[in-house]
């Protein structure tokens, strides 16, 4: 049993846990949290697989995710903030 495989299995199990959290909710933000977790796990998964398969030049992929993944989460914050401010300004107009 290769050491990489053990780490991969741990990552995969955690991916399943994150998916369960994403499916169960209960709130929307639990799901966002699960997505964020899943993204980090994907970065780790891809880097370990790059080592397992012996193609280390493919770490670019993990790097892409590490850089880009949080743009989506920041967009969610902007989205929530914008909706919130629209709602509060509509309230103040009433």
């Amino acid at each position: 049993m290769n050491m990489y495989t053990i780490v991969l299995i741990a990552i995969l199990v955690t991916m399943v846990l994150a998916v369960v959290r994403a499916l169960r909710g209960p709130s929307v933000y639990d799901r966002v949290l699960a997505v964020n977790m899943f993204g980090t796990k994907t970065v780790l998964f891809l880097s370990v697989v790059a080592f397992l398969s012996g193609r280390r030049d493919f770490l670019d992929l993990a790097l892409t995710y590490a850089l880009i993944n949080f743009v989506g989460v920041l967009a969610i914050l902007v989205f929530v903030q914008r909706r919130f401010s629209v709602a509060s300004s509509a309230k103040s107009e009433d």
Binding site: A22, G39, L61, L77, V86
Partner: protein, 325 residues
């Protein structure tokens, strides 16, 4: 071992797809779509398609989410509860699935080297790439040189889709007192994302350029690089707000990029004709055919990257600038 991982990830994919369909809140469905895209990228990577996985990574995690969020902000995020029993749709879909699964037994199994797809033109590509084009990444060689005409079409499709979005969303709304929604300030009041984002932004752009120019040697190329650079500039718009982003990087530059990249691509093709070859034949661009190929691929990849970056940015700003009412 890897095949077991693949089976596992594919099963997760099906579960997530079911969950997307069942989610009644579109925001939740969108979150699940992000997980779906991450899973797709991992599967592509396991199936040896590094370039495709990189594309999915560059598009799926950032840009898709951002564009869908922009559309959700302009519409509504709640789906009406689903009441009608799909008595016709269910059997139709079930029969289609059953037929596809039945037909799958005639397909070559996964990884069969004798499969017809590996027999025709592909061995020729793999053999001739070192001789004719001489770059290590065969995917880039096919994309940029052997099937450059194909790629030209794809670039123009992206350009056309971008023009369509601009047509639909740039028009003023008819007859209405626009409610003065507070101008989007972005995250300028949040210190932590601002500092971290400003730190990471140059690295995203730099990495985009690395992917652009390293595409001949490793996974990467114009499509991925354009998406990554666009994501970086979208991050800037998220951090600083619409107004400042458009002041720093005005719309006319994006339009020039979207049009100029496609134009550059086509001009390289025309240059091939002018110098005595065929359309998109790069061998005549330089006295040495291989150097000509390198030059041609460099130029058209640059064209692809510029167009993709400009188009995606224009699409993002078209959604973000249109205020909801």
């Amino acid at each position: 071992m890897t095949i077991l991982f693949a089976v596992f990830l594919l099963s997760l994919l099906v579960i997530i797809a079911v969950a997307i369909i069942r989610a009644e809140n579109l925001f939740v469905a969108l979150m699940l779509t992000t997980i779906f895209s991450l899973l797709m990228a991992t599967n592509f990577f396991i199936l040896d398609a590094a370039d495709v996985a990189l594309t999915e990574a560059a598009i799926g995690a950032g840009i898709t989410t951002v564009i869908f969020l922009g559309a959700l902000a302009l519409t509504s995020e709640h789906e009406k509860p689903f009441v009608a029993v799909p008595w016709l749709a269910l059997p139709v879909v079930a029969v289609t699935a059953a037929l596809l699964i039945f037909a799958s037994f005639d397909n070559p199994r996964l990884g069969d080297p004798e499969a017809p797809i590996h027999q025709h033109v592909v061995p020729w590509y793999l053999e001739q790439t070192p001789k004719l084009v001489d770059i290590p990444n065969v995917v880039t060689a096919i994309l940029g040189s052997f099937r450059a005409f194909d790629t030209l079409g794809e670039v123009f499709v992206i350009f056309a889709a971008c023009i369509g979005v601009l047509f639909l969303l740039s028009a003023r709304k008819p007859s209405e007192t626009r409610c003065t929604a507070p101008a989007s300030v972005g995250l300028s009041q949040h210190l932590i994302p601002k500092v971290a984002g400003r730190f990471i932004l140059p690295f995203i752009i730099l990495f985009g350029f690395y992917v652009q120019f390293h595409g001949d040697f490793g996974p990467g190329g114009g499509f991925q690089a354009g998406a990554i650079v666009a994501t970086g500039l979208i991050l800037f718009a998220l951090l600083e707000g619409e107004e400042r982003a458009l002041r720093a990087f005005p719309r006319w530059i994006m339009m020039a990029m979207a049009a100029g990249g496609a134009l550059l691509y086509a001009l390289v093709g025309v240059a091939g004709i002018a110098m005595g070859g065929k359309f998109l034949d790069y061998s005549v661009l330089s006295s040495d055919p291989i150097a000509g190929q390198h030059l041609g691929i460099l130029l058209i990849e640059a064209g692809v990257g510029i167009t993709v970056c400009g188009s995606l940015l224009l699409i993002f700003h078209a959604f973000a600038a249109r205020e909801s009412f």
